[in-house]
Symmetry: C2
Subunit: 271 residues, 2 copies
Amino acid sequence: FQFNLMVVGESGLGKSTLVNTLFRSKIARSTLAGAEDAKIPKTVEIHSVSHVIEEKNVRLRLTVSDTPGFGDHINNDGSWQPILDHINKLNEKYFADESAVVRNIAPVDSRIHACIYFIAPTGHSLKPIDIEFMKKLDKSVNIIPVIAKADTLTLEERAAFKERIVEDLDQHAINVYPNVNEDDDEEDKAINSKLSELLPFAVIGSDKEVIVNGQGVLGRKTKWGFIEVENKDHCEFSNLRDMLIRTHMQDLIDVTHFTHYEKFRAAKLRG
Amino acid sequence: FQFNLMVVGESGLGKSTLVNTLFRSKIARSTLAGAEDAKIPKTVEIHSVSHVIEEKNVRLRLTVSDTPGFGDHINNDGSWQPILDHINKLNEKYFADESAVVRNIAPVDSRIHACIYFIAPTGHSLKPIDIEFMKKLDKSVNIIPVIAKADTLTLEERAAFKERIVEDLDQHAINVYPNVNEDDDEEDKAINSKLSELLPFAVIGSDKEVIVNGQGVLGRKTKWGFIEVENKDHCEFSNLRDMLIRTHMQDLIDVTHFTHYEKFRAAKLRG
Ligand SMILES: Nc1nc2c(ncn2[C@@H]2O[C@H](COP(=O)(O)OP(=O)(O)O)[C@@H](O)[C@H]2O)c(=O)[nH]1
Ligand SMILES: Nc1nc2c(ncn2[C@@H]2O[C@H](COP(=O)(O)OP(=O)(O)O)[C@@H](O)[C@H]2O)c(=O)[nH]1
């Protein structure tokens, strides 16, 4: 079982921490470019790290791709391009493997199944770079926008910010995952509508456990209180995690194959 | 008494809120470009608003200049230029007034006495745009860097972040205010050294008062606790406010006149 995740957003939005929190492991801290002494690359690079992890007795080969340099320069023109190129390079590889003469082996699927886009918690609205990235890539990959470091916002600010983000997404006709598809069955539609109401998920990440009442709780210890990552009153991290790992992982892979890759393949066959 | 403050930093770092908090008034919310529906201007603009406020029985004519557009575009090349041009335009005006034939009236001083530079609380280090701005302007204006929205960071993250910022400032030989001057008297040196140890100030702003034990307290009400802006255990807002308004206002004006303006004037006279 192969699942490929990409995280995109400017440096310092908690991407490597969130990946650690999602997979409850130290995979990201030492390997993603979030490391303290990482220099910002001169161009946007793609760094991928693969791990075998076990979630509920299922062995999962997880690949996480980070995109250091995106949004980090004084001039970020075209910073989306290397990322789209990378996605298409993976599509090319799948296409080549799929078309290979010996077809009894399923190709290794290294295509990006989900791209988590980190929105800075400014409290205002989407930035030009956010809009540009999502407009350029929403027809090529499943984009899941999240509000990064959501503890920066009070609950009222969060609600107002989400409202403006949704307006921006509508205004620019940006497709985000999950899409509520008219041809889904009623149950799926209901689940996805409920999810879309929450979008974008306001997330908080932490790989530090604090002992609260004898229990280890993941969170951030501040001078004015303890922020609990898995507490639904505090943030929507667990909604994101459940969607990615428990309820929607297969759907993310299917939409990637039957919608995004299909579009790529059709264009390739047309020449 | 005229005091002119400039605030610089990307949109959403709490600049208009901080100005409100500093001067305990609603001057910024309705007038600075931090207003909710403000569009990002296509280039960097300078918006100035003047108010007469009373601080401790002293009537102060305060002008606050905001710089909407700075750092907000996909391509921020040269975004420092309009700001430096504005500072020099004010120097030109002072020079013209100073050299005017009728010299018995002191010129209205509209020069920028302090430029508060807002650093995004990424937790990593200064961004290229931060370094470029401060390098380009530190010889022309008093720059006071602050860590914006410091409640985003835990106390450990804040300490580590400050350390890296100070390393970055040293490495790029950036001058920030207050400078510990060798020719200051011992008492001033002691005060300034103590201040420099805290720099950059980690600030939190709020124009909302919450009733705590029957008292109105300025702060941010979150699900996990109440963040108090004027509590020194929470952040260094009051250190910044005291420095700006109580202890160092005259020094900021003096350094502007005798150091920054003097350099401008000397260059002007040399032709
Ligand atoms: N306030 C807040 N800080 C966070 C959160 N997640 C991570 N951080 C901190 O933000 C800093 C940068 O995190 P990192 O994961 O390296 O960000 P990256 O550059 O996007 O990979 C570190 O000091 C983290 O501890 C969060 O949800 N909220
Ligand atoms: N977490 C946090 N949020 C803040 C702080 N100051 C302001 N905000 C919020 O950040 C958002 C943007 O603030 P604003 O002052 O308009 O930022 P500006 O665009 O830099 O002028 C608003 O929702 C504010 O309530 C702060 O110190 N900490």
